[in-house]
């Protein structure tokens, strides 16, 4: 194969120019016009990158519009936000309200709000749940209500401890122990009791309880903080 042979074939390739027919040209032009806008003549020729601010402006506008629409949609669709307020009551009050089947969490009758914990509203109960009450569902509901009550009482004691009302905290914890002797929150209750005793300069009682606590809950995550409060556990 010589260069002359190649030249002959290359000349053939150069001459092999194929133009699209008029219909194909029209279709391509129409698609381009849809993609980038009309471009019939020089006067209509677009300036795709001649306006450097156009693209950022478009992005910023999209961002603002999208943000406003998203905020509106969120506001329209989100569940209403409620505040759950924990109130401090005397043990006598708790006994009374419990015996009269009044819910413990009653923000209206609360004499003083101690802890306000914002929570997201829970979804409304399903219709079949509200109309059909099975024994197991009822028992489960009772357990949940009891647990909520135990937790609320413990929160009251914590709040009293936090504002250095150690006697109030101990009183609330005693009520808790009397009402829920086998509470799942007993570990937390005992730990708080030890700290309240230690803070009240009742170190001997605190250490005795700490020893018992360590024996009952040797792996407790609360042990370090108990040790901090009583110094050493005998």
């Amino acid at each position: 194969m010589t260069d002359l042979d190649l030249d002959e074939e290359l000349a053939q390739l150069r001459a092999d120019v194929v133009e699209p027919d008029a219909e194909a040209t029209r279709r391509i032009a129409a698609r381009l016009a849809r993609s980038i806008g009309p471009f019939g003549g020089d006067s209509a020729a677009p300036a795709p990158r001649g306006l450097p601010w156009a693209r950022p402006l478009q992005l910023a506008t999209s961002f603002v519009v999208g943000g406003v629409m998203g905020a509106g949609l969120y506001g329209a669709l989100r569940a209403p936000r409620v505040e759950r307020v924990y109130v401090e009551r005397s043990p006598a009050t708790i006994q009374t309200t419990s015996s009269s089947a009044t819910p413990l969490l009653d923000p209206v009758s609360a004499p003083s709000a101690v802890v306000a914990v914002p929570t997201i509203a829970e979804p409304p109960p399903r219709s079949n749940r509200s109309t059909v009450s099975t024994p197991s569902a009822s028992a489960s509901g009772d357990r949940l209500a009891s647990l909520a009550e135990q937790q609320a009482l413990l929160d009251v004691a914590r709040a009293a401890f936090a504002r250095s009302d150690y006697s109030g905290a101990l009183q609330t914890l005693a009520t808790h122990a009397a009402r829920f002797p086998k509470s799942v929150l007993a570990e937390e209750r005992e730990a708080l009791q030890i700290k309240a005793l230690a803070a009240s300069d009742r170190l001997q009682e605190a250490r005795a309880l700490a020893t018992r606590f360590q024996a009952r809950h040797p792996q407790s995550l609360l042990l370090p903080s108990i040790k901090d409060s009583v110094g050493t556990i005998p």
């Binding site: 194969m1 042979d5 190649l6 074939e9 290359l10 053939q12 390739l13 150069r14 092999d16 120019v17 194929v18 133009e19 699209p20 194909a24 040209t25 279709r27 391509i28 032009a29 698609r31 381009l32 993609s35 980038i36 471009f39 019939g40 003549g41 020089d42 209509a44 020729a45 677009p46 300036a47 795709p48 990158r49 001649g50």
Partner: protein, 181 residues
């Protein structure tokens, strides 16, 4: 190398409509030389001009226009080949084993070849073919080829040499097969 590269008139950036009117045939032909099947020429010509529209402000009016335009053709054809290759792999896994040689796309394009030279051109791999077409057919100097395709100068020369050898060998074999000289 008798075909001069088209420059922008007066060293100014041409308008998009003028480019479309003047160079649609060049784009169409270049895509065909790069192995795009006839059925896809219309779509890919649109893609080339769409990209040209987006990047027109990047064009350096002091340099020849058609090599710059050919760069778009090459990238669009390369993307098309990659997509086609992926499709073939997915379909092949489900239906039947793929005949390894020649590539299905190459066979399709070769079937459309109107001349022996074009048939052999389609047998070159795309990267070599791009260098070959730019230099041997469009008459573009190799430094410009390398710049347009974004490859080192030596790579461009190497691809050109290999493409020439492959093209010559392809011609010889095909002529022998047809019983020509």
């Amino acid at each position: 190398m008798s075909v001069p590269a088209v420059h922008a008139e007066g060293g100014e950036r041409p308008s998009f409509s003028a480019i479309f009117a003047r160079d649609l045939g060049y784009v169409w032909t270049s895509l065909r030389r790069l192995g795009v099947p006839s059925r896809d020429l219309e779509d890919l010509s649109h893609d080339v001009f769409f990209r040209v529209y987006q990047r027109l402000s990047d064009y350096d009016a002091e340099r020849p226009f058609r090599p710059w335009l050919f760069g778009f053709c090459f990238r669009v054809a390369s993307d098309c080949r990659r997509r086609f290759s992926n499709q073939r792999e997915v379909l092949g896994a489900e239906l039947e084993p793929i005949d390894p040689l020649p590539d299905a796309l190459d066979r399709l394009v070769q079937a459309e070849a109107t001349s022996l030279a074009q048939l052999v051109l389609q047998s070159l791999e795309l990267e070599r073919r791009a260098v070959f077409v730019m230099h041997e057919i469009d008459g573009c100097p190799i430094p410009e080829v390398a710049s347009t395709l974004g490859i080192p100068l030596n790579t461009a020369y190497s691809r050109l040499r290999l493409a020439r050898e492959q093209f010559a060998e392809g011609l010889r074999r095909e002529r022998a097969r047809r019983g020509e000289r």
